[in-house]
Every structure is written in structure tokens, then in C-alpha cells.
């Protein structure tokens, strides 16, 4: 009896293993490494939405896999290697903290293509991509300054990394283009994800007179607070109108899908190259949710601003950009700040009334 069972088990295993290999043989396998759970409604969720779009578009030619909740420390390198070792030919690592591990693994697997989000280290088989989220922030600044009655905006910030800093600055520059005396109150919650704390911060900002809330954290908690308090807010990562039907002015939507489809097609066609992609509103990697809950003139202005950024007539970080002390920042890009200055932004612009967090 026992032997019979063992033989049966072995046979089933062998069968399973061959079935597994066969399905893998002819399709291109595309792997994703996610920082959070797929249901975080924020950063990871939007990558997952994009993966699903990819499957929908190229489902008959590819097979996708994701690993979620991958820690940025010791685990990430192994997770990437596991994808590489199981026949994945294109691997997207979707958080900044995966940069060094991705570089290391890319070196070990020169035939596999890697794409790392929001980093800056590249290799012949490792490209990078990110969105120009600050473009959307600039529009939000314009809208916010128009909509605010108190002249004070509230900003819930996660961690002082350049992307968050450039978001604050772009918001301020946009807002100042409408109201030079606009004020912003900033709370650093030191987390990407703690709905309760995000709500607490939103309440604190509202209590101190902010009547338009911005957030650079993941959950819709702040949006709900705005809805309850009857003030305005902007969605983050995805369209959060459901959580603030009377409050959401617009949202910055991370739209990775078209890029994932494009790069996967390139691998399928054998034309993939390692590139540094940094796309914004124009290429639709950053998309604005519908402009809602605002009067027509504000809506028009918002649309005009968006069109201006797309056609290049409006440049958010156009020189001279004044630092917090009122002195102009060195203008490395000729007429505007260059990519390095924006990607590595470590100063506040004039008018931000907060001590710079990480000097």
C-alpha cells in the first residue's frame, strides 16, 4: 500500500513537472517584483493594473508572474534571481530600493532584459523608467491655489526622497503662478502606508486651516477626510473619485500599462534596448483624472496648463527657480533645471515654509 502510494505520488509529481515545463516553453515569460501587496490601492496596485493590461493586450504570446511584498533588503536579490532562473526573459523591478540588487542580477544573467523603475543605474540589459509626476503636481498646484479660500494648502508627505521634494516644489510653483502668497503646510508621516496615520495628518492639516489637501502617500484616507470635512483634495497614484465624490479635484494616475506593453513588444520583436525612459503627461505615463468639483474657469485653466505642459509651452521648473532663501538655483539645463537636478532634488523653492528635511 505504502509503495503504491509513493509510486503514485512520484508519477503525479513527474506529470505536474512536465506540464509545467511545457506551458513555459513557447511563451515569453515576463516577471514583476512588487514592493507592496497587489491590493494596496497605491503604488503596487497601479503596477498590477498595468500588468493586467499587458496580459489583456499580449495574453496569447506571454505569461506573467509577480512576486508581491518583496522586501527591499536582503530578500529582493533572491526574488529577482528566482524569476531569472525560472525562464523569465523580461523582469520589471518596480521600486527604487531594488536598484542595486537588479544591477547585480542583471550582471549574472546577461541574456535577460531588466527594467528598473525610478532608479538611475543602467547596463546593456538593464533599462530604467519613471514618470514625470511633478508635471501633474504643477497642475494640481494651479488648481489648488484657485480653489483655496484660506490660501493655505496641506501636504501629506511620506519620506523626504527627491520625488516627493520635487512634487512639493512643483505644486508650489504651480500655485504661485496663480497666487504668489500661497502657503503650504507639510506633515511628514514617515510611512508610505498607514491609513489611520494618513487620516490623522489630513485632519491636523484641515484643523490648522488648510482647505486643499495634497498627498504623497498611498491610501485614500486623506481623500475621505476631505470629503467628511467638505474641503478639497487630490488623489494619488489612482483615480480616487469614489472616495471623495465631492472633494476630488483631480488625481495623478500612474499609467504604466502602455510602457509595459511597448517594452514587452520590443522584447518579442528582438528590438529591446536599454534606455532611460522618463515620460510624463505627453507620453501618457502620467495621466490626470477628470477635473471635477471646480468651476468652469478653473477647469479651463487646468486644461490649459495641462496642454501647455504637453506642448512644452509651460515648463514647471523653468529658470529662474528661486531657492528657499530667494536666491536663484543654478540652471544646469539652459532654460530650465536639468534632469539630474529634478531627479535628485534636494532643496525647497521659495515660499515653502518648512525646514528642509534632509540636509
Amino acid at each position: 500500500m505504502k509503495r503504491l502510494l509513493m509510486t503514485a505520488a512520484a508519477a503525479a509529481l513527474a506529470l505536474a513537472a512536465t506540464a509545467f515545463n511545457a506551458s513555459a516553453a513557447d511563451k515569453l515569460k515576463v516577471g514583476f517584483i512588487y514592493l507592496g501587496p497587489v491590493g494596496d490601492l497605491g503604488w503596487t496596485y497601479m503596477h498590477e493594473v498595468a500588468r493586467q493590461a499587458l496580459v489583456k493586450e499580449l495574453g496569447d504570446k506571454i505569461e506573467t508572474t509577480y512576486l508581491e511584498n518583496v522586501n527591499e533588503g536582503p530578500d529582493s536579490e533572491r526574488s529577482i534571481v528566482q524569476l531569472a532562473r525560472t525562464g523569465h526573459q523580461l523582469i520589471f523591478t518596480t521600486s527604487f530600493g531594488y536598484m542595486d540588487p537588479t544591477v547585480k542580477v542583471a550582471k549574472q544573467f546577461p541574456k535577460i532584459k531588466f527594467e528598473h523603475a525610478t532608479g538611475y543605474k543602467r547596463a546593456p540589459n538593464l533599462g530604467t523608467y519613471s514618470g514625470r509626476f511633478y508635471e501633474g503636481r504643477y497642475i494640481q498646484g494651479v488648481i489648488a491655489a484657485k480653489m483655496s479660500k484660506t490660501g493655505t494648502l496641506g501636504y501629506i508627505a511620506s519620506f523626504p526622497i527627491p520625488e516627493v521634494i520635487s512634487g512639493i516644489n512643483a505644486t508650489m510653483l504651480g500655485a504661485q503662478s496663480v497666487n504668489p502668497n500661497i502657503k503650504v503646510k507639510i506633515i511628514w508621516v514617515n510611512t508610505w502606508f498607514d491609513p489611520g496615520k494618513e487620516a490623522d495628518a489630513a485632519k491636523a492639516l484641515a484643523d490648522q486651516g488648510a482647505d486643499v489637501l495634497m498627498q504623497h502617500t498611498d491610501s485614500p484616507a486623506a481623500m475621505q477626510v476631505a470629503q467628511q470635512r467638505g474641503i478639497y483634495a487630490f488623489g494619488q497614484d489612482s483615480d480616487m473619485i469614489k472616495f471623495g465624490p465631492k472633494s476630488q479635484l483631480t488625481a495623478i494616475v500612474n499609467n504604466w500599462g502602455p510602457y509595459y506593453i511597448k517594452q514587452t513588444k520590443a522584447v518579442l520583436a528582438g528590438t529591446w534596448k536599454s534606455e532611460d525612459t522618463w515620460d510624463g503627461l505627453k507620453e501618457k505615463m502620467v495621466v490626470m483624472a477628470p477635473f471635477t468639483n471646480m468651476p468652469d474657469d478653473v477647469k479651463k485653466l487646468a486644461e490649459k496648463t495641462e496642454a501647455g505642459i504637453v506642448d512644452g509651452s509651460i515648463v514647471p521648473f523653468k529658470c529662474p527657480v528661486l531657492g528657499q532663501d530667494g536666491k536663484p538655483i543654478e540652471c544646469k539645463g539652459g532654460t530650465h533645471l536639468d534632469a539630474g537636478q529634478i531627479l535628485g532634488m534636494n532643496f525647497y523653492v521659495k515660499g515653502v515654509d518648512d525646514k528642509f528635511p534632509s540636509k
Binding site: L13, A16, G73, P74, E77, G97, Y120, L343, N346, P357
Partner: protein, 359 residues
């Protein structure tokens, strides 16, 4: 209650071996039912979870890499728990060890000073962890403040200290202001001992720690003292053992080992100091300590076993698209069964009929 436990007069060798086997069998049955309900092939899933990682060298090395910090921390914690000292802040001591050890790597970055550097770093890491653990120890001995609270709260503080450093003073000057130190120089890195993977010298250190702990607990006066103070505090007082000194001693040792584990992770598999260096090792190690019955060899086995379930869970996500949450459920169930079957070693279960109403 129809079930009644009865203490065994002597430990049965048969049960000691049969218990883990029974636990695994029960888990397999439970998992199979769940997997069938989800429409997955249970045999293949079980193969992916528990067998596949053992069949190739890379995964075997990764199991060792993953188990190493867990075992090292758990050894220190076991001393605490044996002495009835409730250190549950190993996570914080791990982080502070990583931070203090990294200091040298940060200041010497770029000036290849020689291989003695990493050894000094490890020593500093151990000291850093020990000093951080000294705070709750002193709070308890000097002020009578319960160490469960103090050690746990200091985890959050340690995390924020590291956060402050890598976003501010220790930030990689060439890193575009991202929150990470520069990658450690080779001289500040724990060397890899086998090609083709990440198996590093820290694993040997862990094995040495296991050996020393086994000898110390079994053969020395100190080990005897720890066990006596934990098991029979009053008797210990008569024997002249000072419980205050033991609190400090066990905290220092477990802090040092946690700190050492921290700096080895950072100088080994991770290679930089950055947020997220620990996927909760300090908390998982508590389970490892008890799963290993607070015995060094048991801890070694428990650590390897838990590491296997992590690696296997990752494999299941890749090859069978089994969600990570389901892997966590399996881990929880497995731990329950292992703990429950463990009880059989000490107790026998007797069914008693309804007629004898004793419970």
C-alpha cells in the same frame, strides 16, 4: 472537556521523532484540502513548497542565507527567555547593529583600507546592538520598568534613527539624494564563500555561535545559572545568583548577537545601509527560538525549516501563482501543528469518556 493532557513520566524517543513527522503530515493534509478548494494541484504545490528548494544548490544556499540571521538572533533570545527576560526588541537591536557597524563603511567609502575593516565593522555592530539592548535592561534593573514595553518601543525608535541617517548625514553623495548609503567597498563586505550564490562567511559565524551556545548552556556555570534563575528564581537567590546581573548579561548577549546579525546582513547580502534592511527578522526569530525549544541545535533546525517555507512560498508564487497570503496561512498552520505535536513529547493525550466528569 473530553481531551485531557497527562504528563509523560519520561520523554519518549519515538514521539520525539514522530512528532515533527506528524506535524508535517497534518499540514500536508490541510494544505491539500485548501489547494484543492482553490483548484490547484496539491501534490505539485507541496513539491514546490518543500522539495524543490532542496533540490538545487542555489536554493540551498539561499535557505542558509535566510536562516543565518534568524538563527543568530534566536540564539541570543533563547538565553533571555530561558532566564525569564522578555526581550522582544531584537528587531531594533538588529537595526542598531547594522547602523553602528555601517558607520565605518560609510566614512571609509572609496578608500580601500584593507580587509581588517569588515572585522572591525562586525565588532562594532555587535557592540551597537548590545548597547541598544542595554537600555531596556537598565530600565528594568534600575527603575523596574517592564522590558516588554521598553524593548518593543525602541524598535520603532531604532528604525527612525536609521531612517534619519540614510536620508541625511550618511546619504550616498553620488546617489541623487536617494535614501541609501553608498554601496559598501569590497573591504567592508562580508565575503561570499561559494561561487554562484550569496552564501557568505556570516553563515559560518552563525554556526560558531550555535556551537558556543550549546557548550555554554550545557556545560558551564553561566548556563546553569541562566536556567536556574529562569526556572526557579527563589532557588537561584539562595544559590547566590544575582538576577539583576543576569538580566543585563542576557540582554547584552542577545543584543550583541542581534546587532551582529544586522551588520552581517548589511555588509553581506544587502551591501548598503538603507530602509527596509530587515524583513522583520527580529520578530520572526522569536518564533524560531520557541520552535527550537530554546535549544541551540533545535533553533538551528527551526531556522532552516522556516527559511525553507519562505523560499518554497516564493517558488509557489512563481510557478503556481499561489498568492503570498496563502503561503502565510500555510506558515501559520504549519507552526500551529508543529507546536501542537511538540506537546505530545511532554504530554500524552487521553480521551476520557463522558462518565468521568473531571475537566
Amino acid at each position: 472537556m473530553p481531551l485531557v493532557l497527562e504528563k509523560r513520566a519520561e520523554r519518549s524517543a519515538f514521539i520525539a521523532i514522530a512528532s515533527p513527522v506528524l506535524a508535517i503530515a497534518l499540514t500536508l493534509v490541510t494544505m491539500s484540502i485548501l489547494l484543492l478548494a482553490l483548484g490547484k494541484n496539491p501534490l505539485m504545490a507541496l513539491y514546490v513548497y518543500f522539495v524543490e528548494p532542496l533540490t538545487d544548490p542555489y536554493s540551498l544556499m539561499e535557505i542558509a542565507v535566510k536562516a543565518s540571521p534568524l538563527v543568530m538572533i534566536a540564539i541570543g533570545l533563547s538565553l533571555c527567555y530561558l532566564a525569564n527576560v522578555w526581550n522582544i526588541g531584537a528587531e531594533g537591536q538588529f537595526i542598531m547593529g547594522a547602523v553602528t557597524g555601517s558607520y565605518l563603511a560609510v566614512v571609509t567609502n572609496g578608500s580601500d583600507v584593507g580587509h581588517w575593516l569588515v572585522i572591525v565593522m562586525l565588532i562594532m555592530g555587535a557592540i551597537g546592538g548590545a548597547l541598544w539592548a542595554l537600555i531596556p535592561a537598565i530600565c528594568r534593573v534600575r527603575f523596574g520598568a517592564n522590558e516588554i514595553l521598553t524593548s518593543l518601543m525602541l524598535v520603532y525608535v531604532a528604525d527612525l534613527i536609521m531612517d534619519y541617517l540614510v536620508r541625511g548625514p550618511w546619504r550616498d553623495p553620488k546617489g541623487l539624494n536617494f535614501p541609501t548609503t553608498a554601496s559598501f567597498d569590497p573591504s567592508a563586505t562580508v565575503p561570499v564563500i561559494l561561487d554562484g550564490g550569496r552564501l557568505h562567511a556570516g553563515v559560518i559565524v552563525t554556526l560558531a555561535v550555535v556551537a558556543v551556545a550549546a557548550v555554554m548552556l550545557g556545560r558551564t556555570i553561566k548556563g546553569f545559572e541562566i536556567r536556574v534563575v529562569g526556572a526557579a528564581p527563589r532557588a537561584a537567590r539562595f544559590a547566590g545568583f544575582k538576577s539583576d546581573r543576569l538580566v543585563i548579561f542576557t540582554f547584552l548577549i542577545s543584543g550583541a548577537l542581534s546587532g551582529l546579525a544586522g551588520i552581517i546582513e548589511v555588509a553581506g547580502p544587502v551591501g548598503v545601509l538603507q530602509p527596509g534592511i530587515s524583513p522583520g527578522y527580529g520578530f520572526t526569530a522569536i518564533i524560531v527560538a520557541f520552535l527550537g525549544r530554546l535549544n541551540p541545535i533545535g533553533i538551528l533546525i527551526a531556522g532552516l525549516f522556516l527559511a525553507l517555507t519562505f523560499i518554497g512560498g516564493e517558488g509557489a508564487q512563481i510557478s503556481m501563482k499561489i498568492p503570498l497570503d496563502l503561503t502565510k496561512v500555510f506558515q501559520g498552520v504549519l507552526l500551529f501543528y508543529v507546536l501542537a505535536c511538540d506537546s505530545l513529547i511532554l504530554y500524552r493525550i487521553r480521551l476520557i469518556g463522558a462518565q468521568s466528569k473531571t475537566a
